[in-house]
């Protein structure tokens, strides 16, 4: 008889252009030269039509149908909101309409979906979290209570900073690495930030939808809302956190898989059990108390099998780019040029490093699915060439 807390991550990166070594230091408009606006527009429009618009419509119907009993949360990145403004304002409008129902909560994060949370110095992280907070205030007139870092990256240091910044809750992965035998279906508190509550993703149930839904080799295939509802109801604990990419609906899982039918029937199949209910992330931290502490000295995340930051910093190329990013940041801030700071921040989006991952087959397939390049090495060359160009501009 748990509460069900569903949250969806909504994000699009500014994917970069092919950028050759011969472009470095050239007479170019860096914003147009760095980013592939055509590709980005195409991808955004495609995903908007396949996922954002139809799923928003469906969720709005469900919220109305269940009269306030179906409740969800979104984490919407700053770059995503810029996409809406630029290409399809109706997407932003539909999120606003959802929010106005009062059944939808919003989550704080870094504006640029960046890895600034693992910089040595957290001041850039703080700036980006505040930037996102201001954006939500301006667009939704809302201040989020719960924070979710990029791809749920979390460690004690980040928790401490988020507590200082006044958030009441933080989201991360319910991995056995930090829980041991304990259940993700309760709130915990960080060992060093006693006023913060940690919501942990139930990766089993979340990935049943996000990854396994259309896996024909899975012994539970096909997954029905009825079956999923019974699993959720049978779960022990205070709450079940079902967190995933919003693009799961219609994009990662195509409409033909039946994912929309699944979603359409999900509220009913969960609410038919007595005492089951949906809650938002804010309601979760308001209602429940932590049952224990978690201690996370090394960063974890929800990504790949390893559930750590090796997705972005797993090979020498990624580490070299990350160090270059940090180094450029130091200089660009000294220089104080707003345009260059903006470019630097757009380049911080974690996706750029994700494309450079060389992980083995299992996860490599997922990486390949998302990558606009023919492989990690080309991804590295483009990205590093751009960083070299930006560095030269900062030094001018």
């Amino acid at each position: 008889m748990p509460a069900v807390c569903c949250y969806f991550e909504v994000h699009q990166p500014f994917r970069i252009n092919r950028f050759s070594v011969f472009h470095i230091g050239g007479d170019i408009n860096p914003y147009d030269a760095y980013f592939n606006h055509d590709l980005n527009r195409k991808i955004f429009e495609r995903v908007a039509n396949k996922c954002y618009l139809p799923t928003n419509r469906l969720l709005l119907d469900l919220i109305k149908q269940f009269n306030g009993k179906f409740r969800i949360s979104f984490s919407i990145t700053g770059t995503f909101m810029e996409y809406c403004d630029r290409y399809m304002p109706e997407v932003m409008e539909s999120f606003k309409e959802l929010f106005r129902t009062g059944c939808v909560d919003l989550i704080g994060e870094t504006y640029y979906h960046s890895l600034s949370g693992i910089f040595d110095d957290l001041s850039e992280f703080e700036d980006q979290v505040n930037l996102h907070r201001e954006t939500l205030m301006r667009r939704f007139n809302y201040e989020p209570a719960v924070f979710r870092n990029t791809e749920a990256i979390y460690d004690n240091r980040i928790a401490k900073k988020i507590e200082e910044m006044g958030f009441r809750g933080i989201i991360t992965e319910g991995t056995e690495k930090i829980l041991g035998w304990r259940s993700p279906n309760y709130l915990y508190k960080p060992v060093n930030a006693p006023n913060l509550k940690v919501l942990l993703r139930n990766h089993q149930l979340s990935d049943d939808i996000a990854f396994r839904f259309s896996a024909t080799g899975w012994n539970e295939f096909p997954l029905t809302a009825e079956k999923f509802g019974s699993w959720v109801s049978a779960s022990e604990g205070d709450l079940v956190n079902i967190f995933m990419d919003y693009e799961t609906f219609g994009e990662h899982q195509w409409p033909e898989t039946g994912i929309f039918d699944f979603l359409r029937h999900l509220p009913d199949e969960i609410l038919r059990y007595p005492n089951n209910e949906f809650i938002t992330v804010r309601e979760a931290v308001e209602r429940f108390s932590p049952v224990g502490e978690i201690d996370v000295p090394f960063a974890i995340s929800w990504a790949d099998m390893e559930r750590d930051v090796s997705t972005w910093l797993g090979n020498d190329m990624q580490i070299a780019c990350f160090n270059e990013l940090k180094e450029i940041g130091r200089r660009v801030k000294e220089k104080g040029d707003e345009n260059l700071i903006r470019l630097w921040r757009l380049l911080q989006t974690s996706d750029h490093l994700y494309y450079i991952s060389t992980k083995g087959l299992a996860d490599g397939d997922v990486h390949k699915y998302f990558s606009p390049y023919s492989g990690p090495y080309e991804g590295f060359i483009n990205y590093m060439n751009i960083l070299q160009d930006l560095k030269q501009r900062v030094e001018l």
Partner: protein
Amino acid sequence: MKIAMIGWEYPPFKVGGLGTHCYGLTHALANLSVNVDFYIPKRTEQKMVKSERNLRIIEVGVANVFPYDRYSELPIENDFFNAVETYNSLCANRIKGCYDLIHCHDWLTMEAGIRLKEKLDIPLIVTIHSTEYDRSGGIYPNQYFIEREKRGMDAADRIIAVSHFTKRIIMEKYHIPEDKIRVVHNAVSKIGEGGKKKKIVLFFGRLTIQKGAEFFLRAAKKVLEKENDCLFIVAGAGDMLPRLIDLAIHLGIANKVMFTGPLTDEEVKHIYRIASVYVLPSVSEPFGITALEAISAGTPAIISKTSGVAEVVKHSLTVDFWDVDEMANKIIALLRYHPLRKTMVENAKKEVDFLTWERTAEKTLEVYREVI
């Protein structure tokens, strides 16, 4: 199982991947308890007949069938055709006995294969290491060779292609049904690292249209605009050498390009080891064992998209052979960014470790078992 295999080059007398392949394959097959008689044209006064467990190298007659190092504009001399005919006839007449199958390599030995299939009434396997479309770079392919190749492919019970790239050519250009073709990738005898890396970009191959050395030089010109302290080495021999030297002079980079001419095995190993980047810019490359050799010597490879080896080394960079700007971009990236070189080599070596002649022999044996 006892098989007769007919080739036309075998180390130490070899000019390319076919010889390397035959050497690696026959030894690995012998280790798998397949009894192999390998027939080869007699080349020199020096006798190279030798026997090992399960493997006999048998020289047939004296025939000069060395098909490369010819100017492509000139008609092929009658001597060469006669030599090929002689060699094939000798093989067809001489080979007898109880073999389970006959296995030929490339067009040059196919006539013997066709006749022996009939004479001994045993299955014929042909391995295609390259087609006339590859060798000519698509420019005026010679109809004589194409007909020879087609005849052999039609007669064969199974065709082994050294890559999916070649399989596609066999299907599209020679109209062979897909179910007759099996892909068995080449392997490599590892060279191993050693020696200090220098700022050297390496090309190694026959200097023919097919191998694309011209594009290597044009890319070199562009690289040198940004990185003027590196050296480009064009290793190997071939009929295009004078023209390539002219081109280097014309591009104004003659002082940064070194033409080595033919090299000994030891020299080849050394040059692989001290290079920082290997480029395989082939116009049409059925496989490209040299890329694997370079990687095994710790040198990352930039590989033409029109090559078979790109299928087995995912941890490489690929380019269109004609896109010299992109080739230069990638060469410079490898020269400048050490983490790129390191990551590529580490991962590519793991892939190459997997490509052993034992594996190639096992896959070949599977094809044999299909027909006997």
